[in-house]
């Protein structure tokens, strides 16, 4: 049915202090859909996300093995251009991290890194990102204001817009709404439904309910292991594994 954007093959990861690890993960991420990785804390979901944009390079990783194919290319290969990779695969973090600059500068930061100098291009990308993140109307008149002046929900949407301004293909989201009120959360989730038409989205939700609301495709992680994965709401209505069922039913977590 849908094309597969990312193929994760036999991925195993161990940190040098022995914490969170991944054990032999095999998963296909479909393009232009929202894939949800859910499960209790310590399951390896964040670690997996960080592998997808090679952000794990910043941490003390002991061993990593397996392959991650993005459009067929193994991004774990040492010869990979990680800079280009990170532009293709953007990330939104759990806490909104706005850079200590104006709203405009936050949005154009990624392009500046890439060497973009043309103001017109940057303005275009900025506007597009803000519209896709459903933030344009709220900030279009105050782009020069410091980004820190925005509310929490607005800041997080700014972070999303910032990623979008960079024109990625994949958007990774690590509990993006965990600090937000329900209205802001709703706005983000609505934006995602629009975004998935053109972007591949991989989301770590902050609750099973959010997972159920947003998933086109879901994968359940438990202590580094991929327990099961299925299309749509399958995992939440008819899980095959007992462990999945127990977690979804709230018997542990």
């Amino acid at each position: 049915m849908a094309t597969i954007k990312i193929i994760i093959q036999n991925l195993s990861l161990q940190y040098s202090d022995g914490t969170e690890s991944l054990r032999d993960i095999n998963l296909d991420i479909p393009a232009n859909a929202i894939t949800v990785l859910f499960g209790p804390a310590g399951g390896g979901k964040s670690s997996l996300l960080r592998c997808l944009n090679r952000l794990n390079d910043l941490t003390e990783v002991q061993t990593i093995s397996g392959k991650i194919l993005l459009d067929g290319d193994n991004i774990l290969d040492p010869k990979t251009d990680v800079i280009a990779l990170r532009r293709r695969v953007g990330m939104v973090f759990a806490r909104p991290v706005v850079l200590p600059m104006s709203i405009r500068q936050n949005l154009t930061y990624g392009l500046e890194l890439a060497g973009e100098k043309r103001k017109s291009r940057m303005d275009e990308a900025l506007e597009r990102g803000l519209k896709l993140a459903a933030l344009w109307e709220e900030v279009q008149d105050r782009l020069e204001d410091p980004a820190i002046a925005l509310s929490g929900g607005q800041q997080q949407r700014l972070c999303l817009a910032r990623v979008l301004a960079n024109q990625p293909e994949v958007i990774l989201m690590d509990e993006p709404t965990s600090g937000l009120d329900p209205i802001s959360t709703g706005k983000v989730e609505t934006a995602l439904q629009e975004l998935k038409k053109n972007y591949t989205i991989i989301l770590v939700p902050h609750s099973v309910q959010q997972a159920a609301r947003t998933a086109d495709f879901a994968a359940f992680f438990l202590q580094g292991e991929l327990v099961e994965a299925a299309e749509g709401k399958e995992l939440f209505t008819h899980p095959r594994q007992k462990r999945t069922e127990d977690y979804v039913e709230g018997r542990f977590g």
């Binding site: 251009d81 800079i83 280009a84 060497g115």
Partner: protein
């Protein structure tokens, strides 16, 4: 575009890395130079002669013991001043003074730390030593005592700073716990807070000692510059000469390459090693505060 970015990144990283290692390079360089110019002294003057008690280079007497005792007596005297007053002030600022007072007084003490030592030496000559001469009925005010008082004063800002940080970082819970058990404020300070800040206070002491041994100008100006062996208690009322003052006073007049020249470098080497030792001990003491690095270097 990526290739040039990459190349620039590597060059810049290399430059930064080299600069990072520079500190080690300089320490080695300094040690090497001191060794180079100081070691010949060990050959030109026998070890026994170096450890003699007479320092009179004009007649080839290179006994450095009077200089060492001079440094020691001034340092110890300075510590006797700096410790009680420094820690006392720190306790006052941290535990007793109201907040607004602390905000005013703490910068004031730090201001003293910013004064160049030559200014304090200057005041020592014009104000302190005449005062001591009159007050204690001495033949001259330029004595080890003057040096000790002055150096104590110079060390106080550093001591106060570090000790106050140490006291500040004792968790409030300790104090509250003691008070809840019925202790008075004084008992809390004396028996709970102060001991808890022990390692920080010790660090303050060690760094104070390190700075005092290395002080040059102020001592040179007020201690009288007489290289006399200072081992009696009464010696504190006599002029002395420290190692640092010796180098400063005599270096300008020596011929390069002469024995005197080499011996002065040897003294410098000794000072280098002493300060190395003191600083390593001070830095390995357990107290680690965020601002400690700032204080070490102030």
């Amino acid at each position: 575009m990526n290739k040039t970015l990459n190349r620039r990144e590597t060059i810049i990283s290399a430059i930064i890395k080299t600069c990072g290692y520079s500190a080690v390079l300089f320490v080695i360089l300094i040690f090497f130079f001191l060794l180079r110019e100081g070691l010949p002294a060990l050959f030109e003057v026998k070890l026994g002669a170096l450890l003699a008690t007479r320092w009179y280079p004009i007649e080839n007497h290179f006994g450095i013991l009077p200089l060492i005792t001079g440094s020691l007596i001034v340092t110890m005297g300075a510590m006797l001043v700096a410790i009680p007053f420094g820690i006392g002030t720190a306790v006052f600022l941290s535990e007793i003074a109201p907040r607004w007072m602390r905000e005013i007084l703490k910068p004031l003490v730090e201001l003293l730390g910013g004064l160049p030592s030559v200014v304090l030496g200057f005041l020592g000559i014009l104000v302190l030593s005449p005062f001591l001469r009159v007050f204690l009925d001495l033949p001259t005010g330029l004595t080890a005592l003057a040096g000790a008082l002055l150096l104590g004063g110079i060390s106080i800002p550093t001591t106060v700073s570090i000790a106050e940080d140490a006291l500040d970082s004792v968790p409030q819970g300790y104090r509250e716990g003691a008070l809840a058990l019925g202790a008075t404020r004084w008992q809390t300070i004396w028996r709970v807070t102060l001991p808890a800040a022990c390692s920080g206070v010790l660090t303050a002491l060690m760094l104070g000692i390190g700075r005092t041994i290395g002080e040059t100008m102020a001592v040179m100006m007020v201690t009288g510059n007489a290289p006399v062996l200072a081992i009696k208690l009464a010696s504190i009322f006599h002029p002395v000469r420290t190692m640092t003052a010796t180098i400063a006073a005599e270096m300008g007049e020596v011929a390069k390459g002469s024995t005197h020249y080499h011996v002065l470098f040897l003294i410098g080497l000794v000072l280098f090693i002493i300060s190395l030792g003191v600083n390593i001990i001070a830095s390995s003491v357990i107290f680690k505060s965020k601002k400690r690095a700032e204080r070490v270097l102030s």
